[in-house]
């Protein structure tokens, strides 16, 4: 299975990776990708992940009907630095882009928050749809950890669920420009919806240790700020 770019195998996503030596049949989606999109042939190897740190090397045995493969090796990747992003609702279909880019950039968790001015809603905010988008981002970026997407919650509930410690940043055109890279084990970003956080919501964030951070010298859309923040975080690796 070759990606078009460089002949390196892509990555398929499996619910579980089985044990070395086991023979598995790939699920329909992954089978289609391997046999039709990548046109892989029996004998080729490919990499699979469970999206929870497990990575397996598979050898393709059969590609005519459903793809069948043998698990040759399984290893586990430790979780490194983590970025969590608490994010207000972007406008409509922009949620797809937000999720795809966060997944590509390696963000660990997205916490969609409903705020006083905006709610996550519509087809583009459905958890199953967003999960599929995150899975595509994982395949693309060849990661071992799938972007986790939390259930939509209110701001207070989301704040209560954050891990202790680490650094916390609120995207804000009037904030400070960060000095250096994100090096903490957990780094949490907060981005308001298109309509912005209210003063009370900002106060809640500040009370929880969020510091205002400017990402550019202009005003960014919700999803642009989120992707710019994740890009900053990704550079800290």
């Amino acid at each position: 299975m070759r990606s078009r770019a460089d002949g390196t195998p892509g990555r398929v996503l499996l619910a579980t990776l089985a044990e070395p030596g086991a023979e598995i049949v790939l699920p329909d989606d992954e089978s289609h990708y391997v046999t039709r999109v990548c046109r892989a042939r029996p004998g080729e190897t490919l990499t699979a992940t469970d999206g929870r740190g497990g990575v397996a090397r598979l050898r393709l045995l059969e590609t005519r009907a459903a793809a069948r493969a043998r698990v040759e090796e399984v290893r586990r990747e430790a979780r490194g630095r983590e970025a969590w992003l608490l994010c207000g609702a972007p406008e409509g279909p922009r949620a797809d882009w937000l999720v795809e880019k966060l997944a590509e950039l390696g963000v660990a968790r997205l916490l969609p928050v409903d705020t006083a001015r905006a709610r996550w809603q519509g087809a583009h905010a459905r958890p199953d749809r967003l999960r599929r988008v995150a899975e595509a981002g994982l395949r693309q970026s060849r990661r071992a950890w799938l972007l986790g997407i939390e259930t939509v919650a209110g701001l207070d509930a989301a704040l209560a669920g954050l891990p202790a410690g680490g650094s916390r940043w609120l995207a804000d055109p009037d904030g400070i420009r960060p000095r250096g890279a994100a090096s903490e084990r957990v780094c949490v970003g907060a981005v308001g919806p298109a309509e912005g956080f209210t003063t009370a919501e900002r106060a809640s964030l500040e009370a929880c240790g969020f510091a205002a951070m400017s990402l550019a010298d202009g005003r960014l859309r919700c999803e642009t700020a989120a992707i710019a923040w994740a890009s900053w975080w990704a550079l800290g690796a």
Copy 2:
């Protein structure tokens, strides 16, 4: 004219700004935006730009038919640091996103390049369409300088047109992580198409002083790498 977020006026784009004291009729698109989308009323002020550093304060006089306004003040913003991005073709509609985000982040120039493996084509790569997307990004981010989009060219022609000096970066998962921010007056990024640059194209870039720069610990799509690079550049302001 209020944006929904914070009561700050949005920004309209005019071909020319006229002189202080002049009365102008806004073009149809801008008139619609001002009177229908923002529901501005006579007596309110709004900010206009020509996308070439000019910024004008306008006072609305009439909003029932085409919006009419008086120019109250005109100033010019100096061009600061500039980011230029030489970019291979993203897949289909991703070009729209690429352009919108580059415009929001304040990139000065996009140089679309046709490479051995991919060409800019289809409706999403039409110059007039991309320009409209860039204009929307300018309004959103309230900038005085419009993202300039060059005609699609081959790599050698694009390289020949770059300004001398500054720093030059090639997005590459195997490159180095940059130390610090982009502080040069002109900073040029190069991002390959979805299919990647060929070895010969990489050699041309390296001969022109492009250094390989890693933006994340996974592989990024063309437009994701471009936006991540622009986000890194934007933090250097």
